[in-house]
Amino acid sequence: MSAHISSVKTYFTVFLCLMAGTALTVWAAFHDFGALSNVVALGIAITKATLVILFFMHVRYSTRMTGLVVLSGALWLFFLFALTLADYLTRVFVPVQAAAGM
C-alpha cells in the first residue's frame, strides 16, 4: 500500500483547529479555573499534539506499528511521571525550609 496522500484541505482544516487551540489556551490562561487550570491547559495541548500526530504526521493512515510506537512513547512518559510523582505527592516533607527557600 503506498503511503496515503492527504488533501490540502485536510491540512488547512487541521491548521485552523491548531490556531483555535492556541487562542483558546491563551484565553483560558487569563481566567481563573482554580485547580482545573492545569487540566485545561494540558488538555488543550494534548488535543493539539494529537491533531499534529494524526494528520500532519500521517499516523492516522499509516501501519498499526507506527501508532504502537507513539503510544509506547507516551506510556513510558506516563511511567516516569506517575511513579516519580507518587513519591513527591505522598512525601511528608519536613523541609529545613530556610536553607531550601532562601
Partner: protein, 324 residues
C-alpha cells in the same frame, strides 16, 4: 586477624530480631531455590547426557499448566516477603510517641550529636539502655547516612531537610556507627560509635561528663545577644508575637492559614521570616541566615521550647561549667 572473626552481627536493638527474622526467611527462600535449580540442572545434565554423537532430544509438548504453577508459586512467596518486609519497614521508620529526641548533624566526615539535655558530642553518642531514642538528622553539606549495623538502623542524612531514625537499645556496649552514603574523600573515616549505658550510668555521665550548658540556657544568651529580645518581649506584643507558650501551639498566619509551631516553623521563621508571617504583624523581622549556625538554631529552638512552660515557670538554671 583471626582472633575476632564474626560471621553474624550481634543484635542490640528491639528491631534487630525482626529484621533478622525476615532476612532468614529470605535467605531460606534463596537457598532453597538455588539448591533446587543447581541439583536439578546437574542431575538432568548427567542423567540425559549425550550418549551417541547424533542423538537428539525428544520434543516436549508445552505444559501451560506447569508454566502457570511455577509463576504463581514464586509470586505468592514473593508477596509474603513483600508484606512481611513492609511491616518491618513501617515499624523501623515510625518512631514511637514517647521516643526521646536527640539531634544529629552530619558534616563532611564527622558526626555531631546533641542530647535533649544540651550535652554535645562529636562522633560518639551515649544513649541509655531500654529507652526509645529518636535522632533527628540533617546534613550541612552532602548526603550522609546514619548506619548502626548492630541496631539494623539506617537512613540517609539529607541536606536541606530533616530525616529521623529511631532505635531502642537492648544490650549495653559500644557499637559501630558508619556513614553509609558516599560523601567524599574521608567517607570511610566518618565513623563513630554508639555507647549504650545503664540509665543510671547515663545520668551520671550526663551530669559529670557532659557539663555543657543546657541548650536552653545558652539559647537564652543567644536570644539576647542576637537582639531577638528587642522585639520579642515578654511584656508587649506591639512589634513581634509573644513567644511564651508559642511552641506546639497553632499559629494563625497573615494569609489565613494556621500552622503548628514546631521545630521547622521556628527554624524557618529565624532564617526566612517572610515565609510565614503571623496574622496581625508586619513582615519586619530581618533574616538571620548566615549569622546563625545549625547548632545555634537548635539552641534557640530549645530556648523557645523552654518558654513553652507557663510564664514564670522554672526556666532551667544555667549549669555551672560551660563547654564551648
Amino acid at each position: 586477624m583471626w582472633q575476632n572473626f564474626p560471621l553474624f552481627p550481634d543484635q542490640a536493638s528491639t528491631i534487630a530480631p525482626k529484621v533478622d527474622a525476615i532476612f532468614f526467611f529470605g535467605l531460606g527462600v534463596a537457598a532453597f531455590f538455588s539448591l533446587l535449580i543447581a541439583v536439578l540442572v546437574i542431575a538432568l545434565a548427567v542423567r540425559y547426557r549425550r550418549r551417541r554423537p547424533d542423538q537428539i532430544g525428544e520434543d516436549e509438548a508445552p505444559h501451560d499448566a506447569l508454566e502457570i504453577v511455577w509463576s504463581v508459586i514464586p509470586l505468592l512467596i514473593l508477596l509474603v516477603m513483600f508484606g512481611w518486609g513492609a511491616r518491618v519497614y513501617f515499624q523501623a521508620t515510625r518512631p514511637p510517641a514517647n521516643a526521646v529526641e536527640y539531634y544529629g548533624i552530619g558534616k563532611q566526615w564527622m558526626w555531631k550529636f546533641q542530647h535533649p539535655s544540651g550535652v554535645r558530642e562529636i562522633n560518639e553518642l551515649h544513649v541509655p539502655l531500654g529507652k526509645p531514642i529518636k535522632v533527628k538528622l540533617t546534613s550541612e553539606d552532602v548526603i550522609h547516612d546514619f548506619f548502626v549495623p548492630a541496631f539494623r538502623v539506617k537512613y540517609d542524612v539529607i541536606p536541606g531537610r530533616y530525616t529521623t531514625v529511631w532505635f531502642q537499645a537492648t544490650k549495653v556496649g559500644t557499637y559501630h556507627l558508619f556513614c553509609d552514603e558516599y560523601c567524599g574523600a574521608e567517607h570511610s573515616r566518618m565513623v563513630g560509635s554508639i555507647v549504650v549505658m545503664d540509665p543510671k550510668d547515663y545520668e551520671q555521665w550526663l551530669t559529670r561528663g557532659g557539663g555543657a550548658a543546657a541548650p536552653a540556657a545558652s539559647g537564652e544568651e543567644l536570644f539576647s545577644s542576637l537582639a531577638c529580645s528587642t522585639c520579642h518581649r515578654t511584656d508587649s506584643t506591639v512589634r513581634a508575637p509573644l513567644l511564651v507558650g508559642l511552641y506546639g501551639s497553632q499559629v494563625q498566619l497573615a494569609d489565613g492559614s494556621t500552622v503548628k509551631a514546631d521545630d521547622d516553623y521556628v527554624r524557618e521563621s529565624i532564617l526566612n521570616p517572610q515565609a510565614k508571617v503571623v496574622n496581625g504583624f508586619q513582615p519586619i523581622m530581618p533574616s538571620y541566615k548566615g549569622q546563625v549556625s545549625e547548632e545555634q538554631i537548635l539552641q534557640l529552638i530549645n530556648y523557645i521550647k523552654s518558654l513553652a512552660a507557663p510564664a514564670g515557670g522554672a526556666t532551667p538554671t544555667p549549669a555551672p561549667g560551660k563547654k564551648g
